[in-house]
Point group: C2
Chain length 228, copies 2
Amino acid sequence: MTIFVYCIQNGYLVTMKISSSDLGKQAYHKVKQMIVSKKLLPGQKIVQEQLAEQLGISRTPLRDALQRLEAELLVESIPRRGVVVRQFNDREIVEIYECRIALEVTAVRLFAEKAQQSQIDGLRKLLEPFEHTNEIDEKAYQKADSNFHDTIIKRSGNQFLYQLFQKGNLLVCIDAIGLVRPPKETLQEHLDIVTAIHNRDGAKAASLLKEHLEKSKRLIVENPGYEN
Amino acid sequence: MTIFVYCIQNGYLVTMKISSSDLGKQAYHKVKQMIVSKKLLPGQKIVQEQLAEQLGISRTPLRDALQRLEAELLVESIPRRGVVVRQFNDREIVEIYECRIALEVTAVRLFAEKAQQSQIDGLRKLLEPFEHTNEIDEKAYQKADSNFHDTIIKRSGNQFLYQLFQKGNLLVCIDAIGLVRPPKETLQEHLDIVTAIHNRDGAKAASLLKEHLEKSKRLIVENPGYEN
DNA sequence: ATACAAAAATTGTCATTAATTCTTTTGGAA
DNA sequence: TTCCAAAAGAATTAATGACAATTTTTGTAT
């Protein structure tokens, strides 16, 4: 399918084609979705021809997609053996958390210092539905939580940091891990962070977020089954 | 070419073939080298057929390589338009530095807390050739500097962090940027950091490294030509 | 059960074809 | 003539299918 877009460029009306024919990128998103939604299980081998047929494409764009996913550490490719969905053990999850803390704390400081007021308000709005209520829908909260952290990183103003988050796939991994602590506990922490941002207190926001994330990390470390 | 490796696996002698036939990975390393060594210039378009012929391979493995390099942010692919070598402006270099600071400060804390004594000694040895001398060879120092920081990250014990550094290509970018400050200035800072690590003072090492990197970052920001 | 050999499945690579973009040429109006 | 727009042609990328190399599975004999 091809879509035509008309726009003004250098004062002239130009027609631009936006072709949705990039099978590689499409496949990338689909396979990523399949991994996150556990349709492809960790450790499972991906048979290329089979999956390609399932997606209705040939192997070349699928291989492109797998290449990307390997770079994002979501799959592992062993030459001549094939590609398997990567699985993270507890030690690796803690490693991921440590990286996340390092980058996200930096992001929140930048956000507090530079973000526009409307962006701060937007962040605040994400939390509203869950205030003043006892029955918190876990699924909705998880989504809001994910959005909350994503917004801070995306709007930090440091685009490279955001790319690193995506390419390093920290967000996806963290989504896959799911909620570590109950909403009741984390909601207040989120609110406090927003307050600090609102006051443009970057250092305070950073230390609050750090403690917020460290708590979750500690829970994973102290989890039975964690091997040091 | 095929190489056979003999090794003991589960108590049995096993022969393993290591085929260097992975053209994709080979091409990846070659092209990466070409970018770092400026044989392919920033902004330059890569014509796939041309480069493939130059490397003596077909376009399929070259595309694999470019896919990887795109994930590492070293090249940029515009669908149906081609692949160009990515160039970083000052603003992006600062962004890269901010990410580097976040991750490397975390790494040095872990290193100070967990590293074996021999690793700390190894770090110290890297600096020795440049002490007690007035004539510092810039090139040799740059290599030592690069090794110094690489060691801290690699031996932090957090493998994911190291992968993130590689995939995010922070190290390569930083190598490409080169020395920001004169050796005389940074050598003493490096020595102080080693001392803190030697004393297992993670917090001290972290704050010293942070200041060390922040100084370089500030120099870039204050550089004429930096657009905020 | 174990070890080996043959068969099947799967991956990596290439050459070809189709689709898209870029460049040049052509034609017409100011 | 000069400028712009449309059309034709060349160049380049994307995708498909086919083939060869390699691994995994299956079957058979020890």
